[in-house]
Amino acid sequence: MITLNNIKKTYNKGTVSAVQNINFSVNKGEIFGLIGPDGAGKTTLFRILTTLLLADEGTATVNGFDVVKDYGKIRDCVGYMPGKFSLYQDLTIEENLNFFATVFGTTIRENYHLIKDIYVQIEPFKNRRAGKLSGGMKQKLALCCALIHKPVVLFLDEPTTGVDVVSRKEFWEMLKRLKAQGITILVSTAYMDEAKLCDRIALIQKGKILSIETPEKIVESFPVKLFAIRGGKAYKLLEDMRAFNGTDSCFAFGDALHVTFKNDENNTVLQYLDSKGHIGVSIETITPTVEDCFIRLLKK
């Protein structure tokens, strides 16, 4: 459904590089995640694919149409939710939705079945102005607006940024239901924990793709054993583990330290921590998360 070939884009007359040599394709009916921090180039890619920006080099297609030549046809068949998108603050929910439906040449009634699940949650407030909605409700309304014309491909640029956990969970539930209806979804996020909810993900940093895989395979490809160390005084433990000469990497992860060693068999570490005065320290092997993988890829 979406293909990118050697896409490159620079800003300020070539002095600032946004993305380089981007190649990937998204299959029909797939949720594909672009995972990376702010400034990684996610928004640039979205804008190239939605025909809003021209790439310096390379080609890309959406639904079989070229993003440069057939931009009109692409604009007919995609739904897009930009990162900063905040709707018309001074229009009500219903007015916003009606407006976007008409702009896309359709009516709310015609495609109501697509948005019904989402819309019923915000319908009680339909006469409230968008500027007075909570983050989660705004996000739902924005999704309704992006869906109202029954797009075959949906582009969602950081839809969950700044939204609380409850709304984020609900939002991903909605994406799953849309996927079941055959809509292809390209979604970007800075939250690593959302990666596991995608079918496939591309990890992106500083305009380059570090890896493209299913979340499971990315985790499987973690090359060394990962240990979780718990106990004692957190900050001291962190400092001491970093100072340990067998340590390859050591990062705080929630209540534990995630540690990799230069050599997977490491029996001396507990002794070492004991000698530093840590009491009740436990160590166990764990399955890496996508975030562990991302950190490891960044370190390289």
């Binding site: 400034g39 990684a40 609380d164 956990v165 929630g254 950190i295 370190k299």
Partner: protein
């Protein structure tokens, strides 16, 4: 130990709407306290009362021993504040930003100079001392903003969603700084949307509809609610919320 933040039935009403209802909790010196809640649960209101920016409707609270009703000036001298949205001036250099904040808190020029060098060294920003803040990567800006909020050696620092949008390595480097500050005895009061960050805290409170629905160490909360991560605990509590902003 004497608590640095102590509230007793702290309440804020806006007309008939009770934004924060009878909040009662204590935060110890050097503690990292996570302040969680869904959008609209009343976090911002509570935090503004504690910073002396908003007058409570009823209840008591002391910050670093000062009363939030009558001693807001003293409170402001004893706290640091950093939010994701605003902290540094984009069009001033790193050094100028530090000097500015030092000046605001009435520090001596000598003291500011010494502190500036110390900060730059700690952040390894010596080479960027004369760079405009706008030209720094986001992650560095956040680290700098945090350090600047500590420039006047406050007792407590309030962090309002400090780590949005940075990569996981930078996020951890940021938390290293927080740990370091707490280790030196600064109390850290932090709000975040990243639930894994909640697990870095010594204790967390979860606000739902204006009241504190849970307050304990992450480990005890997980045990109590029977989940293996804070995210699920949070979800369990927050989805019962009736109100949104």
């Amino acid at each position: 130990m004497r608590p640095v933040i102590k509230t007793d039935k702290l309440t804020k009403r806006f007309g008939a709407f009770v934004a924060a209802n009878e909040l009662t909790f204590e935060v110890e010196k050097g503690e990292i306290f996570g302040f969680l809640g869904a959008n609209g649960a009343g976090k911002t209101t509570a935090m503004r009362m504690l910073c002396g920016l908003l007058m409570p409707s009823s209840g008591k609270a002391t910050i670093a021993g000062f009363d939030v009703y009558t001693q807001t000036d003293q409170i402001k001298r004893r706290i640091g504040y950093m939010s994701q949205k605003f902290s540094l001036y984009d069009d001033l250099t790193v050094t100028e930003n530090i000097r500015f904040y030092g000046g605001i808190y009435g520090m001596e020029i000598k003291e500011i100079k010494a502190k500036t060098l110390e900060l730059l060294a700690e952040l390894q920003l010596e080479k960027e001392a004369k760079t405009l803040v706008r030209d720094l990567p986001l992650g560095w800006k956040q680290k700098l903003a945090f350090s600047v909020s500590l420039v006047h050696s406050p007792d407590i620092v309030f962090l309002d969603e400090p780590t949005g949008g940075v990569d996981p390595v930078t996020r951890r480097q940021f938390w290293d700084l927080i740990y370091h500050a707490a280790d030196k005895g600064v109390t850290v009061f932090v709000t975040t949307h990243y639930m894994d960050e909640a697990e870095y805290c010594n204790r967390v409170s979860i606000m739902v509809d204006g009241v504190i629905a849970a307050l304990d160490s992450p480990a005890k909360l997980k045990k109590k609610y029977g989940y293996d991560n804070i995210e699920d605990v949070f979800y369990e509590l927050a989805r019962k919320a009736k109100r949104s902003e």
